[in-house]
């Protein structure tokens, strides 16, 4: 009685069809392909890491108007109360957000810290900002803004202590980072109380006038 050959035996027959030399060549070719794959995989992973952007920040179109006397003007707005992230003031119970553990008056005096989301004129969010103000600081009262645009840079602004008669407060660009680094300029801060826009109860408008070095437009 002759038993039927198993699959393993069939495979063995197949291998036996090749000479030792042919088998070596086939395995060698397979091995070379594998080695080539290793190099290709390592090189591909390196190229992917090198060329693929790890960070791609979202940008809104800048809404800039060019001034006839040089420089550009850009307006930003903060819708209240929805764009408020933080209102910290010692001795006040309704701080924002709720459950905020703000240091006491003995540590920060009357210094008020606020943080906001900042929008462009089209109401699209473009950045975040902080506003610090103190009228009793022993080294001198101050009001200042830091406005941070992730894709552009940051503006550090010092404001006048007293607003003008029309309620507008002027300020100067103290320092800038990245896109704002070489620039000088001024900022006007205005609180607009009458806003007809859904749940918006008020609006802070920041009008930024910037000049490049040597009066070049930016």
């Amino acid at each position: 009685m002759v038993s039927r050959p198993s699959n393993l035996t069939k495979l063995g027959y197949q291998f036996c069809r090749y000479s030792r030399q042919q088998l070596r060549e086939r395995v060698s070719r397979l091995f070379k392909t594998f080695i080539f794959g290793i190099f290709l995989g390592a090189f591909g992973a390196g190229a992917l890491l090198y060329f693929a952007p790890a960070v791609n920040l979202h940008r809104e179109r800048s809404l800039i108007s060019v001034q006839p006397n040089g420089g550009n003007i850009e307006r930003f707005q903060i819708n209240l109360p929805r764009d408020r992230i933080l209102v910290g003031l010692a001795g006040v119970e309704d701080s924002i957000p709720a459950e905020l553990d703000w240091p006491g008056k003995e540590q920060l005096g009357d210094m008020q810290a606020e943080a906001f989301i900042v929008r462009n004129e089209n109401n699209a969010v473009v950045g975040v900002a902080s506003r610090l103000a103190s009228s009793t600081e022993e080294t001198g009262p101050f009001i200042e803004w830091v406005v941070h645009f992730p894709a552009r840079g940051t503006m550090y602004v010092q404001m006048d202590l007293m607003p003008a008669a029309d309620g507008v407060r002027d300020g100067v660009l103290r320092a800038g980072t990245r896109d704002f680094l070489p620039l000088t300029g001024s900022i006007r801060e205005q609180f607009v109380s009458e806003v007809e826009d859904g749940d918006v109860q008020g609006r802070i408008v920041l009008e930024v006038g910037l000049n490049g070095p040597l009066g070049d437009e930016v």
């Binding site: 397979l30 392909t33 594998f34 080695i35 080539f36 794959g37 290793i38 190099f39 290709l40 995989g41 390592a42 591909g44 992973a45 090198y50 952007p53 790890a54 960070v55 791609n56 920040l57 979202h58 940008r59 809104e60 408020r84 992230i85 933080l86 910290g88 957000p97 709720a98 459950e99 905020l100 553990d101 703000w102 240091p103 005096g109 210094m111 810290a113 943080a115 989301i117 699209a124 969010v125 473009v126 975040v128 902080s130 610090l132 600081e137 022993e138 080294t139 001198g140 101050f142 200042e144 830091v146 941070h148 992730p150 894709a151 840079g153 940051t154 550090y156 010092q158 103290r174 320092a175």
Partner: protein, 230 residues
């Protein structure tokens, strides 16, 4: 077909070998000594807890670790700010006493080059020190050593956490020596232009909650005021 399979397996092995080599690359170690360690200027140090729950406020897009604190703080959901974090914290002086308050804005940087071991963030600190004044600190930070030595081991650990000792200088620019740029605002700092570095010391990290035990230090140089006799 078997050549295709062989090529595919080779590609996978190659990619894994690259990843392992990249991860353990000894030439991409973090800076441990501050560039300001040998400065002739006077320096002041401020420390803070880098654990969001121990700070005053922390917010991000609400989906990343760590989660915002306090619970009801507004989240930065819009596309333009979804890669940005805001951290508000108390600053302590060298003796551990309250020194002031700092607001840190930090955004991922498009200058990030993972191939070079640079996971960069652009960050600014808006700082108020009662009795001294205000200042702005502008820096580029490299988080790659922190990601490599703390966050990835925490993610790979079976308990999703990491315990150990990590210390690194996070500041990598924008100044030439890898220091941050400081601009004074008011008070004694009104005309200040100087340098600073931020360092981070971590002892515990949870992949689910974020930092568990972590402190940061800001070292700021104060230029010496030359008197007539000097």
């Amino acid at each position: 077909m078997k050549y295709l399979v062989s090529l595919f397996v080779g590609l996978l092995v190659g990619a894994v070998l690259f990843a392992v080599g990249f991860y353990y690359n000894p030439f991409m170690n973090q800076t441990m000594i501050s560039p300001l360690a040998v400065t002739n200027e006077r320096v002041i140090d401020f420390s803070f807890s880098a654990v969001p729950e121990e700070g005053i406020l922390y917010t991000n897009n609400g989906e990343s670790v760590p989660l915002p604190h306090p619970r009801r703080v507004a989240k930065l959901l819009e596309p333009a700010v979804s890669d940005t974090r805001i951290f508000v914290t108390q600053l302590q002086d060298g003796s551990g006493d309250f020194a002031g308050i700092g607001i840190k804005f930090s955004s991922e940087s498009e200058q990030t080059r993972l191939f070079k071991g640079e996971a960069l963030a652009n960050s600014v600190w808006h700082i108020y020190l009662p009795g001294k004044g205000t200042l702005l600190l502008d820096q580029a930070e490299n988080y790659w050593p922190y990601i490599r030595e703390v966050r990835i081991p925490a993610k790979l650990s079976s308990g999703d956490n990491w315990r150990g000792a990590f210390h690194g200088i996070m500041t990598s620019g924008p100044s030439a020596l890898g220091t941050a740029r400081v601009s004074g605002g008011s008070g004694f700092f009104a005309t200040l232009e100087s340098e600073a570095v931020e360092s981070l010391t971590a002892r515990g990290y949870s992949a689910m909650q974020g930092p568990v035990s972590m402190t940061g230090t800001l070292t700021i140089t104060l230029p010496r005021v030359e008197t007539a006799g000097e």
